[in-house]
């Protein structure tokens, strides 16, 4: 255990000692072991790398690190080599010997492991050459590539905790003013101005205050917060310490979902390391600030991400939202003033303190400042985590960074804001992504989920899919939400299965109106977004389902039929052999036919037909 640092100057000396010991030009190999890459065997790649390097007498302890998510999960496992900045994609254990021999020892590039820009066909050697990266502005995610998240020394060597020292110099009032002036708004969904929230908590009556970090991240498919906590936990922790200093809090909690065991482990370790160095505990860095943080694990209910439900859960009660007439800033955890911020909100704080509010305001738009991390998934070529300045358009993100829609298909819609976000059509692609514009368009920022859908997507089916999730994740308190959501889900089911009429649509709208107007928390009031936004932007598609009993995207099984185009079919018999129902008949080299009464619309025939002769209407 290292001795506690007595003050800011001791921290500076500690950092200087670290940098002196480290050669800036040394070669470092980083393997991403973030969630995505891990699932593709990154840990095994890392182990193989260390074994190989050792075999060749390369001091690997010093020269290799396992990092958090680098964002380009689509191409993982990723391996990068500094100082050259070479990035290898889809690295397998079998590739490791070649990398060690040719790159580490020989100084060459292994061409076949480079990412190839599909637009130009050119291999990209470094991050800067990859379009996915060079159109981003990575402020929060930048350091993920540069540090081992289990090492506080890595963080400090990169300048970590100097924002805290700066905060001590400025004093709590100036820090809060700086955060206010930066225009930072909460990244957890509602976009509430962070400085104002801090101020309310600081000014609330009471002697014990809490700061809490919301790392519940319940949106399916979103992993921004996970990537920050796993990849750069100290940045979140430093933000919380600065917040506690500005607000006057003595205790903090990080509420992490149970399903993020690695994030739990990383933040827990980071807290222990910070405490050992005197960055937490009594008299932080020799100052008057006494502050400590505990980790609390959430059971994984989506609703526990809601502020009042989270407080209940932290207190050991059932995670159910309650009305807040008196704001949590005044009466939160155990009735005491509490300031809750999202992981990404906290991670922005050290940067603002260090680089100033003006720098922060220089990114983004007037009313939505700074950058935002999105998790870009669905029918888009390059999926992953992208960080862009607020106000970037949907087109910039989906086409510029994400590389557009795979397979030459057309773009149909994008859902922003997690399961209860709205779906925006192609006409809205030039919408700037900021808090207020998205809400005006019937969607929301949420915490940064972005799901891209192509022309093969049925919007009725999409709305039904999200309602299914929300109906089961409602805490079940309110009649409107608990009953309303499953009714909506079933009414959408009626439409998808051919039982819907125009009355069904009218009832959906009436019911959605009540759910939105009378539910207690934002889960209920926003849960109707997927239905209402698709009704608003894709009404024709709903009408095709109810009037013509037709699913234009050919998704809703009850409304489609499969047939074989006799002009295209050459009678290869492949489909007949594969149909699980034996529904296809025909002579060899003669056009085949499908018996509709036997067909279960599994689509296998369409997939196997070498001549694209199977039609769906």
């Amino acid at each position: 255990m290292t001795a506690r640092l007595a003050g800011p100057r001791a921290l500076t000396r500690y950092r200087e000692a670290l940098t002196r010991a480290r050669d800036p030009g040394r070669r470092v190999v980083s393997v991403c072991v973030g969630t995505g890459c891990r699932a593709n065997g990154a840990r095994e790649v890392y182990a193989a790398l260390r074994a190989q390097a050792e075999k060749h007498g390369v001091a690997c302890e010093e020269q290799s690190r396992a990092t958090g998510c680098l964002g380009f999960c689509q191409c993982g496992p990723l391996l990068s080599v500094a100082p050259e900045g070479i990035v290898y994609q889809h690295v397998r254990v079998a590739d490791v010997p070649e990398i060690v021999e040719r790159t580490l020892l020989g100084g060459e590039t292994v061409e076949r492991l480079l990412y190839v820009d599909p637009a130009t066909g050119r291999p990209c050697r470094t991050e800067e050459e990859i379009p996915f990266y060079h159109r981003q502005q990575r402020v929060l995610l930048r350091d993920n590539a540069l540090l081992d998240p289990t090492s506080i020394d890595d963080y400090i060597a990169l300048g970590g905790y100097s924002a805290l020292c700066r905060a001590f110099e400025m004093g709590p009032v100036a820090v809060l003013e700086e955060v206010k002036r930066s225009g930072l708004r909460g990244r957890g969904g509602a976009g509430f101005p962070t400085g104002r929230k801090w101020e309310a908590c600081r000014d609330a009556a009471g002697d014990l205050r809490y700061v809490v970090c919301n790392a519940d991240e319940g949106d399916p498919g979103a992993f921004m917060d996970d990537a920050l906590l796993e990849g750069d936990p100290h940045s979140v922790l430093e933000g919380m310490i600065i917040g506690a200093f500005a607000i006057g809090a003595r205790e903090g909690y990080v509420y992490v979902r149970q399903e993020y065991p690695v994030a739990v482990e990383r933040i827990t370790r980071a807290i222990d390391q910070a405490r050992d160095l005197g960055l937490l505990g009594e008299s932080v860095l020799g100052s008057d600030l006494s502050f400590d943080v505990r980790v609390s694990r959430g059971g994984g209910a989506f609703v526990c991400g809601e502020a009042s439900a989270m407080m209940a859960s932290l207190e050991g009660r059932r995670g159910v939202p309650r009305r807040r007439i008196i704001h949590l800033s005044e009466r939160g955890l155990w009735g005491r003033p509490t300031n809750l911020n999202n992981v990404e909100t906290w991670a922005n704080v050290p940067q603002i303190v260090l680089r100033g509010a003006d720098w922060f305001r220089s990114m983004g738009t007037e009313r939505s400042t700074g950058t935002k991390i999105f998790s870009l998934v669905g029918k888009v070529n390059d999926t992953g985590l992208v960080e862009v300045p607020m106000g970037a358009t949907l087109r910039d993100i989906i086409f510029g960074i994400g590389g557009g829609i795979p397979g030459g298909k057309g773009f149909k819609a994008v859902q922003t804001g997690g399961p209860s976000g709205g779906c925006l059509p192609a006409e809205k692609l030039d919408t700037p992504v900021d808090f207020d514009t998205l809400v005006a368009e019937g969607s929301m920022m949420g915490s940064g989920g972005m799901i891209v859908m192509d022309e093969d997507t049925c919007m009725v089916d999409v709305a039904r899919y999200f309602l299914r999730f929300l109906a089961s994740e409602s805490c079940g308190n309110c009649t409107s939400c608990r009953e309303g959501l499953w009714r909506l889900r079933d009414l959408l089911g009626d439409i998808a299965e051919g039982r819907g009429t125009r009355d069904t649509i009218a009832l959906i709208e009436e019911l959605a109106d009540t759910v939105k107007a009378t539910s207690l928390c934002a889960l209920g009031t926003s849960a109707v977004n997927p239905v209402l936004s698709t009704l608003r932007h894709f009404r024709d598609e709903y009408l095709a389902h109810v009037d013509d009993k037709r699913c234009p995207a050919a998704v809703c099984k009850a409304l489609i039929t499969f047939s074989i185009d006799p002009d295209a079919c050459n009678g290869c018999t492949l489909c007949a052999a594969r149909c699980p129902q034996g529904a296809i008949s025909g002579e060899k080299r003669q056009p085949h036919t499908i018996a509709p009464e036997l067909c279960i619309k599994c689509g296998i025939c369409r997939d196997v037909c070498p001549r694209d002769a199977v039609r769906v209407h």
């Binding site: 079940g476 309110c478 009953e483 009540t514 009378t518 539910s519």
Partner: protein, 253 residues
């Protein structure tokens, strides 16, 4: 401290922070409510007690539930507008399929002009008739037994013994939940000597004076142990207990 507010244009006075629903009811106003009890903290589950409120200097009137809304100075309250009635009616429609025969729901339906149900009755509910107001859970907790709980979430939510057990092991059979349930869906059956409730079969305790069974042995034991009323009173049914008190008061008179 009292605050002044207006309810449908009439001025009223009430203690600050008192539940708006209670205040309206005290001045004779009517608001439908299925999950409220004056003595128990509100959870605002049924979403029927909707009203519109406007706080001084706060622009438009907002739609809100009244049971969990603390009154404040200058509040302007509207208890029935077309918007309020429309949303109350929809939420009632969502509950009706669970308890299509419950008089409490019919009464509200009538007051809202709801004549035809929008949805067919729900069959196969874990506790037929239950509308998930959680009054049973809350009254049981308020009495200190915690024998019941809300379990699960979303469309799987239900009430019953905690952890999904079939028997409420902490239940003493006092019958408070049965009493408070708005739809009367909690089964409580007394035979000559036992009471069945929440999967338990509890021995009945008979009044020492009149010999009538009036509660369970387990409940009486708790009453004695808590000492809120004199031990000897715990052995008497309510009628005999009142008589007993009256008799003891006699000399003073």
């Amino acid at each position: 401290m009292d605050v002044r507010l207006t309810i449908d244009g009439h001025e009223a006075k009430a203690p600050k922070d008192m539940s708006l629903l209670d205040v309206v009811r005290r001045v004779g106003g009517e608001i439908p409510a299925l999950c409220h009890h004056e003595g128990i903290a509100p959870i605002a589950a049924c979403r029927l007690c909707l009203v519109e409120v406007r706080r001084p200097g706060r622009g438009e009137a907002v739609l809100t539930t009244s049971c969990d809304y603390p009154v404040s100075e200058g509040l302007e309250v509207v208890t029935a507008s077309p918007r309020i009635r429309r949303h109350r009616a929809m939420n009632l429609q969502l509950l009706l399929p669970y308890a299509p025969d419950a008089p409490a729901l019919h009464e509200i339906a009538e007051s809202l002009g709801v004549t035809a149900p929008l949805f067919a009755p729900v069959t196969g509910a874990p506790l037929p008739g239950c509308i998930l107001c959680e009054l049973c859970v809350r009254v049981c907790a308020a009495l200190g037994y915690h024998a019941l709980a809300a379990i699960g979430r979303g469309d799987h939510k239900r009430v019953g013994p905690p952890f999904g057990r079939s028997v409420a092991t902490a239940c003493v059979g006092c019958g408070a939940c049965h009493e408070v349930c708005p739809t009367g869906c909690i089964a409580m059956e007394d035979t000559a000597t036992t009471r069945r409730i929440w999967g338990r079969e509890l021995e009945l305790f008979t009044c020492r004076r009149c010999g009538k069974p009036f509660t369970t042995v387990a409940h009486r034991t708790v009453m004695v142990a808590r000492g809120d009323i004199p031990a000897e009173s715990c052995d008497l049914c309510e009628t005999c207990r009142s008589r007993d008190y009256a008799r003891r008061l006699a000399p003073v008179r």
